[in-house]
């Protein structure tokens, strides 16, 4: 040590450091939470209204499901919560692996982790916060699913406990594994629970369709869900303790990569840019993978783009598995007796399942740089990038067709109506996914609207509905019992708009260009010079 002033530095008090950071953050706030809520009264009011509508819809669906006593409804009431809660738990593990679950911001990583601090004291709050948040969200999901399947208050409480404690326990378990920098056990458990969710869903549909006798499975006592809650509680205590002990072992890079991801996602979330959120996740996954075995392309022209999408299916088969698994959804919805709502609900699920197949379309539409490298007009490019997802949507439609016939229980319909409903569902899912992937983000350079929560561009709120709007437009005629051709005509118009990629900016550009040409023509007719003198501004030969 050359500088004597640095020889006596004392001992770091992590608690004081955290208090100091809190003071910096909160001390600079110019209003408290209540004032912020008062300012955003429109937003609060909207949330209350939308919340009330959601609760009302849930209660209505619950009443419909509760009075339905077909085999399908009984099987769904018995098994759907099991399948859904398993899905929630698998999703919890996916999220925890993605972010940590214990994470730190890049600034904390640089300023705090490098210093002589005790990481356990800094990170303990994060760990318990993550476990608590997972518990609350898991409980809400469990209760919602139970309510939607027509369960009573006691059952709803039991499923809330199972979902909440199960999710909290798995977060604690993942955190304990994070302390050992070990992934494979968490990944294995995640796949196991995910497979259980899909398997239960398939059982449900098979039973409801009468393809197999479920025996007493449909009467599986809901109290057994308390076992999930018990295991979850055990994990919260045991794995939580282990995770706390291992907090000092977590590598800084592992902590900050999760933190950077969260801050990136937060930024995109504030702008309601969900496609950007997915971009960030895809980039993070690509960084994690790092390297692939290159494959030689096939064909030339636009065929090369299509064949590259086909090759992507071999490279990343997981989205294909997910897509196949989602075929169960229309069967389950029909079995639940919600035949009228089957097209919009299943189309939304198909939308989500098709998005991972649209990486080409996403990259080619989000910036024009790469698009410009290809010798095609935007319509040709978009069409080429839609072909593989369209074929997959068609196959999905064929697979889902028997569901709309009612072979899995619920309402039965004639083949023509069923085929129309299946086709409309497939088309709506595809075009919804195309819109979700390729829609322009809100334009912050245009006029800004003053609202109760501050200034925002008019397109911002529509970002929330991106993709969903397309599904609603195309499937609502079916919901209202109008002829299917209305849906198909709407779909055709939507396709031509989505294919051309016409947006407000392009239209304004076209308008400006036409205006300019008109003015030039007028100037030419009146004898005035159409353009200025040709002049090179400054030129110097080397």
């Amino acid at each position: 040590m050359t500088d004597e002033r640095l020889t006596d530095v004392g001992v770091v008090d992590e608690k004081q450091l955290k208090l100091l950071m809190r003071d910096w953050r909160r001390g600079r706030a110019d209003r408290n939470l209540w004032q912020a809520l008062s300012d955003g009264y429109v937003m609060v009011f909207s949330i209350v209204v939308i919340g009330a509508m959601l609760v009302s819809s849930i209660l209505q669906a619950q009443e419909t499901a509760a009075v339905c006593d077909t085999d399908g409804c009984v099987a769904a009431r018995g098994l759907l919560p099991w399948a859904s809660v398993a899905g929630v738990l698998a999703f919890t593990l996916v999220v925890s692996r993605l972010f940590g679950p214990v994470a730190a911001s890049a600034a904390e990583g640089f300023w705090l982790m490098d210093g002589p601090t005790d990481r356990r004291r800094i990170l303990a709050g994060r760990l318990f916060g993550a476990i608590g948040a997972a518990g609350a969200l898991g409980a809400a999901a469990g209760a919602l699913i139970a309510a939607l399947t027509g369960s009573g208050p006691v059952e709803i409480g039991i499923w809330a406990l199972a979902g909440g404690l199960g999710a909290a326990g798995l977060i604690a378990f993942a955190a304990a594994e994070q302390g050992l920098d070990r992934h494979w056990i968490v990944t294995g458990v995640q796949w196991l629970i995910g497979a259980a969710a899909i398997g239960t869903m398939v059982l449900l549909v098979s039973g409801a369709a009468g393809w197999m006798d479920l025996g007493r499975l449909t009467l599986l006592a809901v109290e057994l869900a308390l076992i999930i809650a018990g295991v979850g509680l055990l994990l919260v205590v045991a794995a939580g303790f282990l995770a706390y002990r291992r907090l000092r072992n977590i590598k800084r890079q592992r902590l900050t990569s999760g933190g950077s991801l969260i801050s990136g996602l937060q930024g995109a979330a504030f702008a309601l840019e969900f496609a950007l959120i997915r971009d960030i996740l895809v980039e993070a996954k690509a960084r994690q993978r790092g390297h692939v075995r290159p494959t030689r392309g096939l064909g030339h022209g636009t065929t090369a783009l299509v064949m590259r999408d086909v090759q992507r299916l071999w490279r990343q088969p997981l989205p294909l598995v997910t897509l196949v698994a989602t075929i169960v959804v229309p069967y389950a919805v029909q079995a639940l007796g919600l035949a009228m709502l089957n097209p919009p609900i299943s189309a939304l699920v198909l939308l989500a399942a098709l998005v991972p197949f649209m990486n080409s379309l996403r990259v080619l539409t989000r910036t024009k740089g790469l698009q410009r490298c290809f010798p095609f007009d935007p319509g040709q490019l978009r069409t080429a990038a839609m072909i593989v997802p369209a074929v997959l949507a068609l196959l999905w439609t064929v697979g889902a067709f028997p569901a709309f016939l009612g072979v899995a229980g619920g309402v039965t319909t004639d083949p023509v109506s069923a085929a129309s409903a299946a086709l409309v569902t497939g088309v709506a899912g595809l075009l919804g996914a195309v819109r979700w992937v390729s829609a322009k983000p809100a334009d912050y350079s245009g006029p800004i609207v003053s609202t109760g929560v501050g200034a925002m561009p008019p397109g911002l709120m529509f970002s929330l509905l991106r993709g969903i709007d397309m599904v609603a437009l195309i499937t609502l005629p079916i919901v209202f019992n109008w002829p299917a051709w209305i849906s198909l005509i709407i779909a055709l118009i939507a396709f031509s708009l989505l294919r051309s990629g016409i947006d407000r900016d392009s239209l304004m550009d076209q308008q400006a260009e036409q205006k300019r040409m008109l003015e030039e023509e007028r100037a030419r007719r009146s004898g005035a010079p159409a353009a200025g003198k040709q002049k090179i501004q400054v030129q110097r030969k080397r």
Partner: protein, 216 residues
């Protein structure tokens, strides 16, 4: 690069004007670039070099004036223009799930090359990305990404090359290689327009220099 004889006018710009609000970035800007000729836009930061280049490739629409390539008015979405103009400006994006070599293979095939392997390998070696052939773009360093961007321009047919500060993030060897490569492209009849702050590069390719004065 076939189809254009040396001394044919490849790019013609007449009375280009571009303004952002009240600030005029460039006005009354005209130039012609012939096949086998390189034109360098120079000037201090903010002089409007990138703005002009963006107008040349159709990424920005000029407020006044016309830009034509081989006599065809430039619009960004025109396939004819896209076929003729290879561009490396700052807005290039990559597919997150395709490796370095797969990007080059896809571009070459999209431009109609039936067996692009040899060309792709050659370009990959030139830009010194052979060890990174299987890497995904997000794992590349900024210099490697720049080399990949340049490689995308060399792996496809082209009559006009538009480069915005191509020397950026390249090491000394990289700049030297780029100079040699661009010289060879010029000898083959390519027209080049570039913005650059690197005198050595401009000297290596014997570029005609247009100095921009900046915003008013």
């Amino acid at each position: 690069m076939a189809g254009v004889a040396k001394k044919d006018v490849v790019l013609q710009v007449d009375n280009l004007k571009k303004a952002y609000g009240p600030v005029t970035i460039v006005e009354n800007f005209s130039m012609r670039v012939h096949a086998g000729e390189a034109v360098a836009l120079t000037g201090r930061n903010g002089a409007g070099k990138s703005t002009v280049l963006r107008c040349l490739v159709g990424a920005d629409r000029p407020d006044e004036g016309t830009v034509t390539v081989n006599g065809t008015k430039v619009t960004e979405t025109n396939p004819e223009i896209r076929r003729a103009v290879a561009t490396v400006i700052d807005d290039l994006d990559f597919f997150p799930d395709l490796s370095v070599v797969e990007h080059l293979d896809l571009l070459a095939r999209a431009h109609g090359l039936h067996e692009p392997d040899a060309l792709v390998d050659e370009v990959l070696e030139e830009v010194q990305l052979v060890p990174q052939a299987g890497q995904l773009p997000s794992t590349l360093s900024s210099g490697q990404r720049r080399r990949l961007a340049l490689a995308t321009a060399f792996v496809r047919p082209r009559q006009l090359l538009v480069l915005d500060e191509p020397e950026q993030r390249l090491d000394v060897e990289g700049v030297a290689w780029l100079g040699e490569r661009l010289k060879a492209e010029l000898d083959g009849g390519l027209a080049i327009v570039l913005a650059s702050h690197e005198p050595a590069l401009l000297q290596a390719i014997g570029a005609r220099e247009l100095r921009l004065e900046g915003a008013r």
